[in-house]
Structures are given as C-alpha cells and as structure tokens.
Point group: C2
C-alpha cells in the first residue's frame, strides 16, 4: 500500500491535519514541527495523493487543452506544439497539470469541454484556435468556465487573451520590403474573416499609405490556408500585374507563391510569416516573422493561472513581441 498522511503523522508524532498543514504551507505552524514532519515525509518517501486533495479542495490544478483534430495542420504548423510546450513548462513550474483532448468538430470540442469541466477534471482551459463567432467561447462564457484564448477575440474586454501585434509585425515587414526598394507590393492572406488576417492586412495597408504608396485593392488576395492557395493567388497576381514583391500571412502560403514566382522566372521577393521550418528550408530562405509561439503559450498559461488563483491581475491580455527575420 502507498504511504499516506497518517503514517507520516504517526512517525512525526503529530496529527494528520498537522501534516496536511505543513503540506499546504499553513502560516502558523512551528518551524520545529514543520521540520519533524518534513523529515518523516522524506523518510517514508511520502507523496501526497493528488486525487484525494482534488476531491477535498474541489480544485483540480489542471488545465485543459484542446487540439484541433487536423493532423496535417498540426504537422505543418509548429505553432501548436510550440504553444503546447510553452503552456506545459509554465504550468508545471506553477504546480499545474495539463490535460489534453482533441475533437474533430466544434460540437465535439464543446462536448469535450463540457465533460472535462462537469466531471471536475479541469479548472480552466486554453483555446489554441480562435474562430469567428466561436461557439466554444460562447459555451465557456455561458457556463462561467475560466479560459484564455490565443489570438485576438471579438470581445477583447471581457475575455482573457494573448496574441502578437499582428498589425505592427506586418507593418514592419512591409516597411522593410519598401526600404529594399520595392513599391508595388502584393498581399496574399488567409481567410479574410479571421482576425489575424485582418490585422496583418491592416498593417500592410498602413505601411503603404504612410510611405505614400498607393494602396491597390486588386493586389490583395485571400486564399485557403495552404501552399496551393499561395501558388494560385501568386499566379494570378503575376499574370495581371508588374509587381515587385509579395507579402503573405504565412510561410506555407509564401512557399506556394514562391513556386509561382520561380515558374514565372521573375525576381520577386516573397515574404512569409510564422518562421516555420518549411519556410526556413526554402531557397532562397523566406524573410518571415517570428511570432514566439512558446511565449504565447507561456503567457496564456500565466493569465489563466492568475485568474484561477484569483491573483489580482491588472491585465486581461498580453501581447507577445514578434521579430522580423530578414534572412540572407
């Protein structure tokens, strides 16, 4: 049988509650007994039964995490595993556990979340994808379940969130491209409904405008988030226009665009976003933006844990710095 609080109590010559108190670091407990108890714990190699604690405290100290069920998406975007790493290491350092789920659909996701919360398995959840008109967020709000989202939500005031400053990151990128001597710069983005696309597109437009470059709507394309999307859009752009550069909202899209550029035998600079391995191993390497996904995970966990521990946090969001990667 496993060693319990009782054995420790017996060995240390105190009551179980005293042992519990030193476990929870109760303020008024004499140093002397503390040490006696610690000694006993060490001697017996005692590990508290977390399950029992959970039941008694009605707090699981566990954070839920929902992964999209799209293996291809997960495999091509280090984003997820990076976020996951950031969350896990921060949470662990704070004594929190991570419980993983995946779900194929939005309804499945809600079902999974409902189960996890209602079954007392998690205290809060971090959402790695933010959809528009997000039913999960709605569900979580309605049921008062603590959560934080990665990505700018609709209701920025009443939800906890972390994100990059996508506007500024793209603004910088476009400025960089302009300084390189380019004027006619096209934009290929993912779904125009996504907040992230909107923000990056605004940065693009603002950078042009502030440099006195005419913003031409016909140079803006919205595509499916894929290599093929970038390829097709770039082909159209190249056919119809005499452009100097193409900025995109993701390395994967950029890879497709670059392929079209090469096929057209043009010497046009293409930029990516998110600093993925795929982009990194292109030739020439794509200028891109490091979004520090590990940090996103880190701060999302931090925000959630602060909320759960009722730490008076002045913040309900966190902006993680990006870094322009210029490459050769």
């Amino acid at each position: 049988m496993r060693v319990t609080i009782k054995e420790v109590a017996k060995l240390a010559n105190v009551s179980p509650s005293t042992v519990s108190r030193v476990l929870t670091d109760h303020p008024k407990i004499s140093q002397a007994t503390k040490e006696r108890v610690w000694k006993a714990m060490k001697e017996l190699d005692y590990h508290p039964n977390v399950t029992a604690r959970k039941l008694a405290t009605n707090a699981t100290k566990t954070i839920g995490l929902v992964l999209p069920n799209d293996v291809k998406l997960l495999a091509e975007n280090p984003f997820f595993i990076q976020v996951l790493t950031g969350i896990t290491s921060y949470a662990q350092a704070k004594g929190y556990y991570i419980m993983l789920t995946n779900a194929a659909t939005e309804e499945g996701e809600i079902e999974a979340l409902n189960h996890l919360f209602r079954s007392n398995l998690i205290d809060g959840v971090i959402m790695t994808v933010v959809r528009e008109n997000d039913q999960c967020a709605k569900f979580l709000n309605e049921n008062n379940h603590p959560y934080v989202v990665i990505g700018k939500p609709n209701d920025t005031d009443n939800t906890l969130w972390v994100d990059n400053d996508n506007f500024q990151a793209m603004y910088e990128m476009v400025n960089y491209i302009i300084r390189l001597g380019n004027q006619k710069i096209a934009f290929i983005g993912g779904s125009s409904a996504l907040t992230v696309t909107k923000n990056r597109r605004s940065g693009y437009e603002m950078a042009l405008t502030n440099r006195g470059i005419h913003f031409d709507d016909s140079l803006v394309k919205s595509v499916k988030f894929s290599e093929a999307g970038g390829y097709e859009a770039a082909k159209v752009l190249l056919k119809d226009n005499e452009i100097d550069a193409i900025v995109t909202t993701d390395d994967l899209i950029a890879v497709g665009a670059l392929k079209a550029v090469k096929e057209a035998k043009k010497d046009i600079i293409v930029t990516g976003f998110n600093n993925t391995p795929i982009g990194n191993y292109q030739n020439p390497p794509l200028p891109t933006v490091e979004i520090n996904a590990v940090q996103l995970g880190h701060y999302s966990a931090r925000l959630l844990i602060e909320k759960l521990t009722k730490v008076e946090s002045t913040m309900n969001s966190y902006i993680v710095d990006t870094k322009l990667i210029k490459k050769a």
Copy 2:
C-alpha cells in the same frame, strides 16, 4: 453546487449505491431501475465526479506523456505531434485521459514520472523517445510502472513497444533506388548508437548485398541529426567518390545533403525518411518513407490500455506499416 449521485438517487427513488451501480454497469441491476436512473441523470444533467471516482477506485484512467523539452526538435519533427494525436484520440475513445509533461533532462524526466505515478495522477506512461541505456525505462521497470515505448527497446521481450520495421523500409527504399539504375549508393544516418539508425543501416546493407552490389563502408556516414550534418557528410562523400545516390535516415539530413549536391552541380538522387513537410516542400521533392506516426501513437495507447485493463493481450509489441513515397 454540482449535482451529485445523491440527488440522482433521490429523484430516481433509489439508493446512491444503486446509481453507482448503473454508472459502472453492474450486471445484476434490473432494466427498470436502470432506466429510471438514466432518466434522472439526464433530467439533472448529471456528470459523475471523476476525481471522486479515482479516489474510490484507485485508478486514474489517465495516461502520462513526456515530451522532450527541445522546442526545435519538436517543431521540426511532426513526429511528436502526430504521435500525440494518435494517442489522444485512441485514449479518448477508450475513456482514458491524457496528462502532459515535459522535462529538460533525463533526470528531470524521471522526477516528473515519479511524481506523476507516486501522486496517483497516472496509471501508465508512453515514452516517445527511446534512448540507449535508458534510465527512464530502468526507473519504470524497477518501480513496476506500466509503460510502452515508441521505438524498438533493448529488451524487446519484456517491454511493451511499437515501432516501424525500419530495416524493411530502408531495404525497400534502396531497392527502389537501385531499380532506378543506381549502383553506387551512399548512406547518411543519424547517431549510429540509436537503434533506429542501426536498423535502417542494416536494411541498406542487405539491399545492396542481395542485389550483388559491393557494400563499401566508406560510403556510410553517421552525423548529428540536422541539416548541417547532412550537408557536411554529403560534401565529403561527393568530394571523395563518384556516387549515384544518397539515402538518408531523415528528411532533415536529406535536405542538407541535397543542398550539397546542388552546390556540387551533380545530378544525384537524395532520399529522406519520415515524410516531413520540410522534405515535402523541397525541390525536387524527396523520395521518403511515411512512418505513420499517428498509427504509432494509436497502437502505443492501445497496448498500454490493454495492459492496464489486464486484457489478455497476446502481443507485447506492434509493428506499424511504412510506405515508400516515391514522389515525382
């Protein structure tokens, strides 16, 4: 307050123990009461408190998962997230939960595992990396903790494991390259101490031998698992020999080798392994091997859960099929 078994009992006009019995699907309980209880549960939207159940049954129905703490490794190798997906979806379907940890070092890993087991947080663990002389495996064995490893272990008889047939996969690849008309085929692998490298190297050697091609030890290189490793090794190979093809044990190594080949302006076929996005987006695309990492995760979870539920499984290992990807 949450709805508990008591309320359900009251509404259904039975005792709490009866409710528990229908929950656990006890054999001798009348259909009539079963249905009354179900109805009550539905009416109250009852969700059993899993924590309480864990405490009572002393089974957590939770599987631990340790990720290496190397973000770069995780980001460049979809392997991990794929394995993770496979595990999660299978486990979930079987009513098991997944708890995630990461650890920076092998000692940290052991510590984490010890904590998770001793604190009654997990019933078993799946190890995603297999080291030689693995201290984690030793620890798990000594403490009788259920686990399965992904990758062929040293002691194949007494541990649960899943893996690809790396020998055969490489054998096929080399055969394919030979049939393409190549004779002088070099081999670049990762650390020669790793079982996976050894197996793939054997497949390479056997394929040559069986085709009557002289096996030349000087054409075999062991490198650090990276693009740079592949690049350097290929440069040496190209300088010293007149070779037709280079097979490698990973897409990342292959990408580096391909770079060297291009620089040398040779027309030499380079093959990868593991079918990663990085390799996929090369030009020309690398012939590679799909290792079906999701399946590896799937079967590892299956093996572990069968062990945990004491299902008399005839198997203590599982070989997941690979697929040769020839590309254009």
